[in-house]
């Protein structure tokens, strides 16, 4: 059966070039970077080269890059690590549309006595800057707002928030897990102090990620052990994973112009063709301030998991904000926060494109949707 993967915001296939770069680090160059001997030095060299490569790609210095096990850990390290620098009750500002890696970390901080303000977003999923400004308090130590949202692709005004945070001396973190490779990610242009990246979202291997920590920004570790990663993230470094991450970041930069134009063409075509041929469809998220690879649609009178299953039976992989498809059986908090009615949340579909998708894939998806939506609407009680 034809297989069309369009769920790149969930994870991506590892690029064959990335696999090639990783392979030597399993069986030949397998040393522990802390070891004195040649095997160790080879690993330390690879680690250092990876750090420099990533730093170059995002406008950082190599000592500002700390490797982690993924996006979730990077977000946790940024938030818990910043709060760990202060005594007493800290206040954190974030948005209602953050990933659970941020929201649940903030919820934990609330449980242990800290304060968190969750800033709302408008109907397009863009953060309310005025609300953010007026929520700043004496004890605000951190603002964490994601660069681009994983469900509706809305791009946040990071520079603007960074300027506010900097002027108040508040540490500013952004989760760039979804934005890297799709829109420009340069730590200087963004003006951030902390920035999270996850390897498996950019055609790198799972199990690797990084946190950019601007020189002069101090954070506390959340895991303790050997002195790896300047003591901020102990544990034998996952060299093959880190080499994979660095290769993936590098590839994303090299391919940036081609990829982002390609994705934009596919995205716009998908939106246009779906809207033109299917009734009762709504585009969720901002029309232009949106990732070039993200399409989030709601279909009237049909439920997302059923849509997913029908598409899956045609070999098409996408996702939904409907409760029934998720293990937690909770409907998307992001779609709720942009004020979407319950039936539209349950009827939502996220199509996240990748560099491997073609216009043919788009046409296959659109024609499949035409058939499936009409079948489900025939069954539907709505």
């Amino acid at each position: 059966m034809k297989q069309v993967y369009m769920d790149h915001s969930a994870t991506t296939p590892v690029d064959p070039q990335v696999v090639d770069a990783m392979l030597p680090y399993f069986t030949e160059k397998f040393g522990n970077s802390s070891s004195f001997h040649s095997f160790g030095r080879e690993a330390a060299k690879a680690l250092s080269a990876a750090r420099h490569k990533i730093a170059d790609c995002i406008g950082a210095k190599s000592n500002e890059i700390i490797f982690t096990s993924g996006g979730t850990e990077s977000d946790n390290l940024a938030i818990l690590g910043t709060v760990g620098q202060y005594a007493g009750v800290s206040h954190i500002i974030t948005s209602v549309i953050e990933h659970p890696a941020v929201l649940n970390t903030c919820a934990y901080l609330e449980r242990i006595g800290h304060e968190v303000t969750y800033i709302p977003v408008d109907a397009d999923g863009i953060i309310d800057i005025e609300a953010l400004v007026s929520s700043i308090k004496e004890n605000t130590v951190l603002i964490s707002v994601m660069h681009a949202n994983n469900e509706i692709g809305s791009i946040q005004p990071i520079r603007e928030i960074a300027d506010i945070a900097n002027s108040k001396g508040i540490v500013f973190h952004t989760d760039a897990v979804q934005s890297l490779g799709k829109i420009p990610v340069n730590v200087n242009d963004l003006g951030v102090d902390l920035l999270s990246i996850s390897s498996h979202k950019i055609h790198g291997p799972k199990g690797a990620g990084m946190l950019y920590i601007k020189d002069g920004t101090s954070i506390s570790p959340i895991v303790f052990g050997g002195g790896h990663e300047r003591g901020l993230r102990p544990g034998t470094e996952n060299i093959s994973g880190i080499v994979g991450l660095a290769t993936a970041v590098d590839l994303a930069m090299q391919r940036y112009d081609v990829d982002s134009r390609h994705l934009l063409d596919l995205r716009n075509s998908l939106i246009e063709k779906t809207m033109a041929t299917i009734d009762g469809v709504r585009l969720n998220g901002h029309s232009t301030k949106r990732l070039p690879n993200n399409v989030n649609l709601s279909f009237r009178s049909v439920e997302g998991e059923s849509l997913l299953m029908m598409l899956d039976l045609k070999g098409i992989a996408v996702s939904t904000g409907s409760a029934c498809s998720s293990k937690s059986l909770k409907a998307s908090h992001v779609l709720a926060s942009i004020g979407l009615a319950a039936d539209f949340i349950h009827g939502s579909l996220r199509i996240s494109l990748g560099r491997g998708n073609s216009m043919e894939d788009i046409d296959y998806l659109v024609s499949s949707l035409q058939e499936i939506v009409s079948r489900l609407r025939e069954i539907s009680a709505l």
Partner: protein, 123 residues
């Protein structure tokens, strides 16, 4: 994760539709829950001669809906009232863990429709 039976029933559901001048109608769920199931009955001499459904909902909602209509059709009112959730689950070769929230909705709708028929007859 879903059994073959669930997917079969989901992709080729029997008894989809409404019944004009139905003898009984039962509806459960809401758009907030993400599932709305309506079951329609035609009763001839105490037997459910026709049972149809319309469902907005997930894979479980649709597959349990069609199974419930198939189990009920041709049964007497009394027999139909004895259909259990286990009968539904057995007919579908089970449901995945954590997916049983909406598994009872279709049966609830059937029972509501039967109650509606009985109430209506009384009047």
């Amino acid at each position: 994760m879903y059994s073959k039976k669930v997917i079969e029933q989901f992709t080729n559901p029997l008894n989809v539709g409404t019944i004009e001048n139905a003898d009984g109608i039962g509806e459960v769920g809401s758009t907030v829950d993400g599932d709305i199931i309506t079951i329609y009955l035609k009763v001839d001499n105490g037997v459910l001669s026709e049972v149809k459904f319309k469902t907005f909902g997930c894979v479980v909602a649709i597959s349990t809906s069609t199974i419930v209509t198939q189990l009920a059709k041709g049964k007497t009112i009394e027999e139909a009232q004895k259909i259990t959730n286990d009968d539904v689950l057995n007919a579908l070769d089970g449901l995945p863990e954590g997916k049983d929230r909406c598994s009872g909705f279709a049966l609830d709708a059937l029972n509501k429709a039967i109650d509606n028929y009985i109430e209506f007859k009384k009047d």
